[in-house]
């Protein structure tokens, strides 16, 4: 069993509060992803869990033990760094064995473990190489192997895929997912890429300015975002936000504002074309044809920009007037503070 709990964890550098009062429970075997824009404190939070940064106040509990004052080495976490942080002067084998050597394990046992892990990650024929002689993906796997070999309670990943090219990133993503299934270990993963978060996570924590905006499964975040920030951050292309003032002169249905609603949120992929005057009337400003889909950028009459991802249509001409509608279940309502109203659960 390896669980992680954060109780009112805070981190400040002088007057700047990087992490503000965070409460979180990570269950055993869960793949938890911290996501947020750069500077939101997600990496700092991860480093606090790792023990590389101290906490200003609050408690971090691993397996129900407060570990605030426990050193990074003794917390039982292993971390994969963004830069991989492989020791450049050591072979792959030595890189993976270093942690075990430090724990005073017997030589033959170390060798056994390293070779087993290398096999798991398909590194077995690279064990004598130096990190410089490896490709990006291989280095990444060595970094992961170095974490696995120590059999930690919790794996921590700090944007591990951000240095890889797009193709490799996709394949490493599925490899990570597979690894998680196989090891069944608790993993915490930091990324700024919402696609990575959506595809990997059991649960996602959306962070902004050191605070948790929402915690939930990818589906929950996509279908029931708690506020405009989460709604805008999760999902690609971004959700459209339409102030209700822009809707004057439009047919009311299905854009019925509940009381207090200031903004409506509609995802681009939920728009469909309709007959004139049945939906929103927009003027096309740009189109991006992508085969099965067409991304249409358009403006409402008052100039509010919206995007629509239309399925199986020929791209509309520039400056053409279109009518777009959506079903009521796909409309998110937000109040003046950007909080979701009546999250139709």
């Amino acid at each position: 069993m390896s669980t992680l709990e954060l109780h009112a964890v805070t981190k400040s550098f002088g007057a700047t509060h990087v992490i503000q009062h965070i409460d979180l429970n990570v269950r055993h075997g869960e793949f938890m992803v911290f996501v947020g824009p750069s500077g939101c404190g997600k990496s700092t939070l991860l480093r606090m869990i790792a023990g590389l940064e101290d906490t200003t106040s609050g408690d971090i509990l691993i397996d129900n033990h407060v570990v605030n004052t426990v050193s990074a080495a003794d917390r039982g976490c292993a971390m994969v760094f963004q830069s991989y942080a492989l020791y450049p002067h050591m072979s792959v084998h030595a890189n993976m064995a270093f942690g075990l050597e430090n724990m005073g394990m017997r030589k033959d046992l170390i060798h056994e473990k390293v070779t087993a892990t290398a096999k798991l990650l398909r590194l077995d024929n690279l064990l004598d190489r130096r990190p410089t002689q490896l490709s990006g993906g291989q280095r990444q796997r060595v970094a992961i192997g170095r974490a696995i070999v120590r059999e930690p309670k919790i794996f921590l990943f700090d944007e591990p895929l951000s240095n890889l090219d797009a193709e490799l990133r996709v394949s490493m993503r599925s490899e990570l997912r597979e690894l998680h299934h196989r090891l069944g270990a608790t993993m915490i993963y930091v990324t700024h890429d919402q696609v990575e978060a959506m595809t990997l996570a059991d649960r996602i924590v959306v962070l902004r300015q050191g605070q948790i905006e929402q915690v939930g499964s990818p589906q929950e975040l996509y279908e029931r975002p708690a506020n405009t920030f989460v709604a805008g951050f999760i999902g690609s292309p971004r959700m459209n936000f339409i102030p209700i003032s822009s809707l004057s002169g439009m047919p009311a249905h299905p854009f019925v504002p509940t009381p207090n609603t200031q903004t409506l949120g509609i995802r681009p992929e939920h728009f469909v074309l309709c007959a004139p005057h049945e939906g929103l009337t927009v003027t096309v400003t740009n189109t991006e044809y992508m085969g099965s889909q067409t991304l249409v950028q358009a403006t409402l009459q008052d100039g509010t920009k919206i995007e629509a991802l239309l399925q199986d249509t020929t791209p509309p001409a520039l400056h053409q007037t279109l009518s777009l509608k959506t079903s009521a279940t796909h409309i998110h309502s937000f109040d003046a503070n950007g909080q979701a109203i009546g999250n139709h659960a």
Binding site: A85, L86, R130
Partner: protein, 348 residues
């Protein structure tokens, strides 16, 4: 290969004026830098008499000597031009003023009076290796050599160790007063070594290290230059490596020993070169600390060869050559480290 390398030109085929200029510059540079050293090397193989000769020669020549019956000593050989205009080799028995008593090796019984204007010494190329071998026999040269090597090696190892530890702390730990400590260390560069010479002497004297090799080694182990050099280099080692090591259960000492030190190898090599040169060539500190001749370093021994009235140049030169050798070797083997760096490789 060598010829091809030596005859390279800027443009293929053509030998332009820039090539001429470059080669001229290089040749002049080579000459001015190496001519004195080469002369020193050649002179170190000359006999005491040959060194004092005028005009001086580049190569070590000695006068040929012959053994002649009736004469117990080998006699110097000359080519004598006789009144008939015939040149024949004769040995000199004795000389008074401008007249020399010569003897023909073929007829040892007859002697002949010859004006010294009428003869030329017969000379041959000979390397007086005795200059070197006698160093070891006549003087405690081996002892001096050992002292110098001991001081240089031990002091360099200690310098690397202590300077790198200080540099590690100053580059990788955050603590209050870090800047102040660093500035203080750098500030000591402004104090000329001669100023602290007397205080150092007093300290060495009071801890009882006078006339001990450790008295020379210890005072200069911590060098501001070394700390600065290593700190600047260690700043380029990514902190993530240290954090990774910390997560890998490495103690701070192991991080220093297994991660930081190997990655600082290029900077350590540079400092090692410096340290070897400083210690090997150091004169002032050994001079005041070591007064007994059994503790003399080579530099002190060199100095003692230069007497007030009489300087034994042939030994002095031979010893100088030996003194130069280690530095040359150190440079030859470590200089490639000055330009290579390996630290940034593992981190993208």
């Amino acid at each position: 290969m060598v010829l091809k390398f030596l005859t390279r030109t800027r443009h293929a085929q053509r030998f332009g004026w820039t090539d001429a200029l470059s080669y001229a510059y290089l040749v002049i540079g080579l000459f001015t830098l190496f001519a004195p050293v080469l002369w020193l090397l050649m002179s170190s193989f000359k006999t005491e008499a040959a060194i004092g000769e005028f005009p001086p020669t580049f190569l070590p020549y000695t006068q040929r000597t012959v053994h002649i019956d009736n004469y117990p000593q080998p006699l110097p050989l000359f080519n004598v031009t006789t009144e008939q205009g015939v040149v024949k080799p004769m040995a000199q028995v004795s000389r008074i003023g401008i007249m020399a008593t010569m003897v023909d090796p073929a007829k040892p019984q007859e002697t002949l009076q010859v004006n010294i204007q009428q003869r030329q010494p017969v000379r041959e190329l000979s390397f007086a290796t005795r200059n070197y071998t006698e160093l070891f026999d006549k003087f405690a040269f081996g002892k001096y050599l050992f002292n110098s090597v001991f001081i240089t090696v031990v002091a360099t190892v200690l310098t690397l160790l202590f300077n790198s530890m200080a540099a590690f702390a100053l580059s990788k730990y955050k603590f209050t007063g870090q800047k102040t400590v660093f500035l203080l260390i750098i500030a000591t560069l402004m104090i000329p070594p001669t100023i602290v010479l007397v205080p150092i002497f007093l300290v060495i004297n009071s801890v009882g290290l006078l006339n001990s090799l450790w008295g020379v080694i210890l005072p200069a182990v911590a060098t501001p230059t070394g700390v600065f050099l290593l700190r600047q280099y260690m700043l380029t080692i990514p902190d993530e490596l240290l954090e990774a090591a910390r997560m890998d259960h490495a103690s701070e000492w192991r991080i220093y020993w297994r991660i930081v030190l190997p990655l600082s190898a290029p900077a350590l090599a540079v400092l090692a070169i410096f340290s070897v040169m400083w210690r090997w060539n150091d004169f002032l500190l050994p001079l005041i600390v070591l007064s007994k001749s059994e503790f003399f370093t080579l530099q002190l021994a060199l100095n003692s060869f230069q007497g007030e009235l009489n300087t034994q140049w042939h030994y002095l030169l031979a010893m100088t050559v030996i003194t130069l050798l280690p530095i040359t070797l150190v440079f030859a083997f470590l200089q490639r480290y000055i330009t290579t760096g390996i630290a940034s490789a593992g981190v993208k």
